[in-house]
Amino acid sequence: MAEKITKEQVFDAIRKVIDPEVGFNLVEMGLIYDAIIDDDNNVKVVMTLSTRGCPLHQMLTQWVKDAVKEIPGVGEVEVEVVWEPAWNISMADDNVKKALGAL
């Protein structure tokens, strides 16, 4: 039986996905809300985007999916984009806030 995947592994994998507009990864931007992993290592990533009108919407979710699929032993990967709670800068890491001038 494959080793159980952890939330940390999923978040670490998504750290490789960079938003080309701001230059930060989606995890430090605070866009990844949760990663739900079942007993068969199927992963559901719950995320949001910094704006509803993001033209990279589908590409970003595809990149997240591709990144998570690279984790050894992972099952099916699903990405759900939610708009509640709406993203705001307080959800980002301090290094992001500092770089953007919000801290």
Partner: protein, 412 residues
Amino acid sequence: MFNVSREFAPPFSLIAPFFVIGSIFYLIATLLLPMFGADTSHFDISVVGWAHLFLLGFVMMVIFGAMAQLVPVVLEVGHFSVDFYYLIWPLLTIGTILMVIGFWLAPGLLPYGGMMVLIAMLTFLADTIMTLRKVEHISLTVKTVAVTNGFLLLGILVGFAMALGIGAGVGVDINKWLNAHIVLVLGGYVTLTIMGMSLILLPMFGLSHGFDERPINLSFKVMVGGVLAYLAGAAIDSQVVRFLAMLTMLGAMSLYLWQIWLIYETRARKENDIWFRSMVVGYGSLAFSLPLGLLAALGAPENIGMTAVWFLVMGFFTFLINGHLYKIIPFLVWFERYSPLVGKQKVPMLADMYPKKMADYQFWFSAAGVVIAGIGLLFQSDTMFKAGAAFMAMGAVFLVTSVNWMMKFGKE
């Protein structure tokens, strides 16, 4: 669920000509600015020719190119037929050239140029209206797109009727309808479009969240009422109705500025990049033009009204358009050339895909030009106006160079 997929995104080769040709028209128009004096009237046929060169060749060309990319983003559905856009830029280019020659040299060409511009715009409207029919989520921006396209249709029909009047002797009262044409196109289409699009783009690029949207909702309704009232005032030839309509539109623009301030106050991204500085000059110009517009409506001399229009068009419209070119073109180039490489090799950030020095030169020359020429118009100084125009032309050279640089990024 809202998706803008790759298949919704128009090909780069389709959009690129709009921005390249638009920036070239901008350069030509600014190079020709010094042929006018500070005491020029907007009824002067040479000014009308120049206005069409600038507004059709640059403003509308870039707006149409931007809409090819933005319509799927803001309407949340794919184009009805994005291939329509392959027809728009050639027709608009040739139509604009014919119309300008018609105004300046050969009035007989005006109806032909006008017809080509009319077909270009009807093609744009056909795609937009058919795309609107697919929309499920009716947001304020969707309503804005619907209403503005109606005003554009009315505006170009009035314009075409006037082109027939000048070029083919059809009985149209130019004095009666010229201002209605200006209000329909500049107020009803360009301004309302900018209002709707900026509500999407400004929070997106500035990472603004949680701001009150009541001012823009009210502004949109008031502006639509103002444009309709002006049209009614022109139809019944009532000075009072036209005056009240002008006040209404100025009120709407003031509400819009308030909304921009709310977005500005809640922005998380505080970089003073070329986009942000362009927005500051653009909205600063709008703030300056509004009280001048009020004075003009109250009967101040024409130079006050011309200065108001100068800051509205050359400050507000121009800086908003040019500022966004530094965001939109790198995105399109990145999407075309680098998005397939994500995860396979290191790809550039969008901020690295525009020429910072050249963009700075464009910004400073253009900003200085707008202010100097604007002061020239206000105080009726030919020297100041021509000096400012020369600065603007220099800025335009850097704009064309920057656009070329961005378009070629990563081509090899």
